[in-house]
């Protein structure tokens, strides 16, 4: 069972990355316009180059 010494920290670390990513999305207002964001991806406006 010595593998637990490695596995538990690794799983906690990976979960922590997910948690931090969620924090990042919340703090940058990425849930302000869920409907608009799901539609924007359908427009071809910035397909060739990113929005300046």
């Amino acid at each position: 069972m010595e593998v637990l010494i490695i596995l538990i920290p690794v799983s906690l670390f990976l979960g922590g990355i997910g948690l931090l990513a969620f924090f990042y999305t919340v703090r940058t207002n990425q849930y302000d316009d869920p409907e608009g964001d799901s539609r924007r991806i359908l427009s071809g406006q910035w397909d060739d180059h990113p929005k300046p």
């Binding site: 979960g15 207002n29 316009d33 409907e35």
Partner: protein, 727 residues
């Protein structure tokens, strides 16, 4: 919950340090112009609107929010919303200016974001600790179990220190003001569970409740978050209604120049130009111009009154025909509109006596839980003289009885029911409005603007000769007065063509006149054409020397008014009509929609007094009204509804806002509210059943962390599923 969730201040959260600084927060720092775009619905709309706005000279950046159907525009200071709206209307998108100052939802939602982060931390920690606990429950022993318990403790302690802050703060607030709220048993259960688990872990014990403490925090936070979100949605929609009325006025400077200023900047003595169709921003006295005024929002009377220099006007009246210049006599807080707010404040004090179902439950629950837990501690201590066993059992009792499902019971149902009503066009502004709506047995309607649209329609067009109506049509089309517009629309609908009337001119405040086959023809007020003014709203047509002929008007009924009244009566509620309008108009309308009891010529105080006296008889009153004269009555009633077209003051005083023009959702709202309250009571019963089963086990010392986790999760999930039936 007893206490409201206070917006958490800058919290010492671990994630705040790790996450990047608020970059997107400052994306549009001084979005100066906000536009409401009610008709946008797809990706093409977004691209169209954004490219048109961005192509406009002076616009720096424009971004559309499809969820809120809104565009925020950052532009040079000299750009006005009025410059941008025509460009959008050319593309076929309806656009209205919003007052960006009123749209503060982003600031208030900081609280929602904090809550969401706490929820995320609690959820993350709960899942990890639960995984570790499962292996303990399935038989990990010795050093492995101790290791797992220590790791659980290392996760649970910081997570709870961060996530459970709202409960600790509320509990402390309640205790320091000597009240026992729902957060006291919650905080005590969490803290006691942590303390006994730590003690057990340090002694290599078998039972640790780290997972239970975290699950408790997570489920309760979920309830709080649902509650917050429901209220945030209602608040943002209410803000949008308020923001649609951009408070601007045209001030005439001493040098005769006109400038557009915010209403807040007006001072006593300022001269203000009021265009036809505009609302008076302040109280004042007319110094120039003649017109007619629509005072229906203040008094409920549909009959326009003549306005001439020297006359007093009140804020909220609408100027109908000619441009007016007024001198302000009272501004801001001193206007008659604001003085009405005092009346509202007095009336409102009665309503605050209502205790919500959650509070009633908490009042029974909180002391019971503490007594039960204390008794089992004392009992086991006297029985075994072992502090450890007694404390363990007391903690188990607190955790199992903890109002986890109770915390979810009310918010889950309210969210589901509010969402259902929002889709039907009803905005629930107040947290307890649904519960109060469910108790209603008497409904009081206002007439003008509530049961009717406030738009007039001619009633006796067919009684007149065709040629006369054609002359009236020709004269009516030259004016923008509501009565003229109503005649023109009705005559056009009847397929009539305007007669050849020449030299048509509008005389503001009186009517229109012209020449028809050498004869002078006039359409307007009774005294102007030489007729006697009756009680009913009437416009008169005078042709040469003939006796003037009357065009009588009645208020147009709101769609769904009769259906709403019928449905409410069928549901066994008494329906009353109280109006400030004259008796014949009220009587005819009452008969039209089928209301038996009506009161006419009621002043604002009369309305409020009548509502209060009915309440004292023990009736639960739903007041539906829109005008300033209804505000006090709206606040005095048990629960109140106002249409979106109502004055801002009336909307603020009411619990529920009707977003569409149709009245029929009102009857449906009562049914939904009754069903929602039934679900809440059911949820309380479900939570109690779980307790009745689990508590004897806990008191008997048979509860294990596994049983606690099962009882808690199962009851929370059943309660949430039951709440979904209210959708």
């Amino acid at each position: 919950m007893t206490a409201e969730l206070r917006p958490p201040t800058a919290a010492a959260c671990p994630g705040c340090l790790a996450a990047p600084a608020e970059a997107a927060e400052a994306a549009l720092p001084d979005a100066r112009i906000a536009l409401s775009l009610p008709t946008i619905h797809c990706q093409t709309c977004i691209v169209d609107v954004e490219s048109v706005l961005n192509a406009h000279p002076g616009v720096r950046e424009a971004r559309v929010n499809l969820t809120l159907k809104r565009a925020m525009i950052e532009a040079d200071p000299d750009i006005r919303a009025a410059d941008l709206i025509p460009a959008l209307e050319k593309l076929g998108y309806e656009a209205h200016e919003l007052d960006p100052g009123v749209l503060s939802s982003t600031a208030s939602d900081r609280a929602g974001r904090e809550l969401l982060m706490r929820l995320a931390v609690a959820g993350f920690a709960m899942m990890n600790v639960m995984l570790l606990s499962v292996s303990v429950w399935s038989g990990a022993e010795g050093a492995t179990r101790d290791l797992f318990h220590w790791i659980s403790a290392a996760i649970a302690l910081p997570a709870i220190a961060f996530s459970a802050q709202p409960f600790f703060r509320n509990a402390w607030g309640g205790l320091s003001s000597r009240r026992l709220n729902m957060d006291v048993p919650i905080s005590l259960a969490i803290l006691l569970a942590l303390a006994t688990s730590l003690w057990e872990t340090s002694l290599s014990g078998e039972h640790a409740y780290f997972d239970a403490a975290l699950a408790l925090t997570f489920f309760l936070l979920a309830g709080r978050y649902l509650d917050h979100r429901t209220r945030a949605i209602a608040r943002s929609a209410a803000e949008e209604l308020a923001a649609l009325e951009v408070p601007r006025a045209i001030r005439i400077r001493d040098d005769g120049e006109e400038e557009e200023v915010a209403v807040a900047e007006l001072k006593v003595g300022d001269r203000i130009r009021i265009r036809p169709g505009a609302r008076m921003p302040v109280d004042g006295e007319i110094v120039e111009g003649r017109s007619e005024l629509d005072r229906s929002l203040l008094t409920g009377e549909t009959l326009p009154v003549a306005a001439e220099p020297g006359q007093q006007v009140s804020a909220g009246e609408v100027n109908l025909t000619g441009p007016l210049v007024i001198r302000a006599t009272a501004v801001g807080e001193d206007t008659s509109l604001h003085r009405m707010a005092d009346l509202v404040a007095i009336a409102e004090s009665g309503r605050s006596r209502y205790t919500s179902l959650a509070d009633q439950a908490a009042k029974l629950y909180a002391p019971g839980v503490h007594i039960l837990s204390a008794l089992s501690f004392v009992g086991w201590y006297l029985y075994t003289w072992d502090m450890r066993t007694a404390l363990n059992i007391a903690a188990a009792v607190l955790i199992i009885t903890c109002p986890c499902a109770l915390g979810l019971a009310v918010p889950a149902v309210t969210t589901a029911a509010s969402g259902r009503l929002f889709r039907k066009g009803l905005l629930i502004k107040n947290a307890t409005a649904l519960e109060r709506l469910a108790q209603v047995d008497t409904v009081v309607f206002d007439k003008t603007g509530t049961l009717t649209t406030g738009e007039l329609q001619p009633v006796n067009l067919e009684d007149h000769a065709r040629s006369d109506v054609e002359i009236a049509l020709a004269l009516a089309e030259a004016s923008s007065h509501p009565l003229s517009r109503a005649i023109a629309a009705a005559a056009r609908e009847a397929g009539l063509q305007p007669a050849a009337v020449t030299e048509v001119t509008e005389v503001p405040g009186f009517g229109t006149e012209g020449l028809y086959r050498g004869q002078r023809v006039r359409l307007g007020r009774a005294d102007w054409v030489g007729a006697a003014q009756g009680a009913q709203t009437t416009a008169w047509l005078a042709i040469g020397d003939r006796t003037p002929i009357p065009f009588a008007f009645s208020d147009r009924l709101r769609p769904g008014a009769a259906e709403a009244v019928r449905a409410l009566r069928e549901a066994g509620k008494e329906v009353l009509l109280i109006s400030g309008d004259v008796a014949p108009a009220v009587e005819s309308l009452a008969r039209q929609v089928g209301i038996g009891k009506w009161v006419a010529e009621a002043r604002p105080e009369d309305k409020a007094a009548r509502v209060q006296s009915l309440s004292e008889e023990g009736r639960k009153i739903l007041m539906v009204g829109d005008g300033l004269n209804d505000t006090a009555a709206l606040a005095a009633a048990h629960v109140s509804i106002s249409p979106a077209t109502a004055l801002d003051a009336a909307r603020v005083a009411s619990d529920i806002v009707l977003l569409g023009t149709d009245l029929s959702p009102i009857a449906d709202a009562c049914t939904t509210a009754r069903r929602a309250t039934k679900r809440i009571r059911e949820n309380f019963r479900i939570a109690t059943i779980y307790n009745v089963i689990a508590v004897p086990l806990a008191v008997a010392g048979l509860a294990t962390p596994l049983i606690a986790a099962l009882a808690m999760s199962a009851s929370s999930i059943t309660v949430s599923l039951n709440a979904l039936r209210a959708r």
